[in-house]
Amino acid sequence: MKTGGPKISAAAALLVTAGLGAAVLSERWFEDITVKAGVAMKHTNRVFENPYAHIMAGYTALGASVAVADYDGDGFDDMFVTDSSASGKNHLYHNNGNLTFTDVGEAAGVANGNDPKNASADSLWFDFNNDGRPDLFVARFGQNQLFENLGSGKFKEVTIAAGLKRYMNSITAIAFDYDRDGYADLFAGNYFQPVDLFNPATPRFFPESFETANNGGGVTVFRNNGNSTFTDVSLKVGIKISGWTLDLGHGDLDNDGDEDLYVAADFGTDRLFANNGDGTFTDKTESTLGIDTKKGMNVDIADFDNDGMLDIYVTNITDDYMREGNFLWHNDGNMAFSDVARETGTYDTGWGWGAKFFDYDNDGWLDLYVMNGWVSAGKDSYVPDIFAMVIKPGLDFADARNWPPMGSKSLSGYQKKRLFHNERGQIFKDQAARHGLDSTRDGRGMGVADFDNDGRLDIFVANANGEPYLYRNTIPTAARWVSFLLEGTKSNRGAIGTQLRLTSGGKTHLRYVSGGNSFAGQSSARVHFGLADTAAIDKVEIRWPSGATQTLAGITADKIYKVVEGDSKKAVLTAKASRK
């Protein structure tokens, strides 16, 4: 339910009148520009070569990811996109400023994320050394990589020097400054336990249970020491878990000024850790969410109903044979949450993966895009095979040899992605088909950014074993917007965790700088507000991770502002910020 409703352009209206079938075009607000933008390189799953490879193939259709950042500071968001095959190169797509991209991965020194002993799984930009340049972390099955951004388009691998070289089998990573010392810390979510997956010494490295597995890789917390090194402080800070982590999300869920942590776990219980404000966390799962047995795949955190509190969206598996349903945890305040997925229509998307809140029509309400589907292959289904295993009494699930190979069968394949339009925080309505965003490739992650700085949020979709999509947002409504790029001074320079409360037309909207929330996808660091038809912005209140607050006045719509912590001046980003 958009304020003012969509306004079809005069040209489109003429075409409709002329009966040229343009009604469909005018209704479609996203254009697939993947090929012409030069970002169509296919992702390929890793093919393992070990005695369990034929079994592992069914459970490792992962690694398609995208991470967005303006790595060269030219005012246009760029993308890092992973491949996973042994010979596959990762791509650093430099944004040319005209909705075309150039793969500069090799020249930049970040393309080699795959080899016989490592497979890229996810990626994350974060400025670990506070030099103002986003650095790059690549999460891998095997050992992770950290690349320092040297400027001038060059990167240097500093994994060993940073103290990060070890077997982790990471599948996700986020960054935020949990101890508010001014440096972004690194949180790695690990799927398998830290064994050599490429040459396993034992066959017992699969999940021991479908619902309560605790033999996964858990979460590793690396504290940023402030001198370009990291220390594993997982136990010290109270994060002691060994589930099959698939995604991590951070946000100040209790509005106490520090960042809390949600852990989505496959084959077991998701965890919610409250930040105690003293550099430690407390596991609040039982008192806040309860113990679930679902297959947590994604965490995104945002205030979907504009009530000033951050809510959590988690995807699980929902299909004919397994009706788990997704979670939409509504924040009721005081660290109490209610699952409103059924009521809001976001419960059943299929076999869910990455999901992201963003306001695609700039109406002031955060919409939600959800990736779905596991393996789309032959017409035969793998479901009977897996359940034939499940019902065998006393079977050791941890032993990979007991799992049936998937072969050329499909499992929850060919599932459509969902684009949920937020109807004033009450219910979501799927608009994916209308906008051509309902592809059935096996979606994993997405990156949302305004790649052409026109105030409309575009989407890059990473598909496993398939070509990606880049969708340009062409929304024809005249809805207003404003974006902010933030830079911390006392706070971490990337300003991760900074909250903005924008008041306009008597309404206040909360957004914050995310350090990589959402499975296999990192979206732009810019904080974007849709303003509907309201051009006047009363004020913008900023709460930095350092605790400092700042109020901006004189902000006008349809601009991208850069704001530095403690500096009362604000600058309009020099890049073209006008609608083409």
């Binding site: 619902e211 047995t293 004919d320 044979y321 788990e324 359940f387 019902i391």
Partner: protein, 250 residues
Amino acid sequence: MKKLIGCLAIAGLAAGAAVAASGEADYQAGMKALASKDFSNALGRLEAALAAEPDSIRFGSEYRQAVIQAKEYDRCIKFFEKLTADSPAASNGFLNYGFAYVDKIPASGAITQVILANTALSFFTKSIDIKPSWIALYTRGNSYLYWPKIFGRAHLGVADLEKAMAMQKSQGGKKSYHSRAFVSLGDGYWKMENIEKAKATWKEGLALFPDHSGLKARLSKDGDDLKSYIDDVLDPNKRVDTNLIEIWTN
């Protein structure tokens, strides 16, 4: 020797009568405790009643309803495991054993639900093997319908439900629970994509039970509406009403 056996047999009968009497007493005491939410006492007394009469459909059903209130699913499963081991000819003991697994399904995760449902089927089968009663055939047939299409079990459900239907027709007389067979058999045909046969079965049922809301609802819907209605009815996350009170009150 013959005399001794005869004496023992008489003694056994007498003991059985005494046990049967104590079964009813324990049952009554158990139900009284349940009414006052004294679950520990209620479950204990109902278990004692069932131990005395392992084939009692009534004791078994009431015990399970108490278990659902007390959320003591594992205790219930353990109890029936022992009961059926001790009384391997108790057809209704196995039926209730299967239901004990069904009762636990809504409290379990999606994969465990499958394991529980499959285990329940094995005990329903055991019950049918011992005595192919209407209730056992109906129960197993209806259970098959909860399985997603991909498992290809709907035809097994239809086969059981057709037998139950034939049984209720041949027995004559109209029992309120007979309406269930019309509902489920129609659902089975629907699951096998035989819409005509499904509607005919529901219509036949509605002719006999003109106030039946489930039959009316099915007959008033088509296509996706009907699908979502039946999907909702067969949602494994919803608790199935396994109270068998209709059996002994009709």
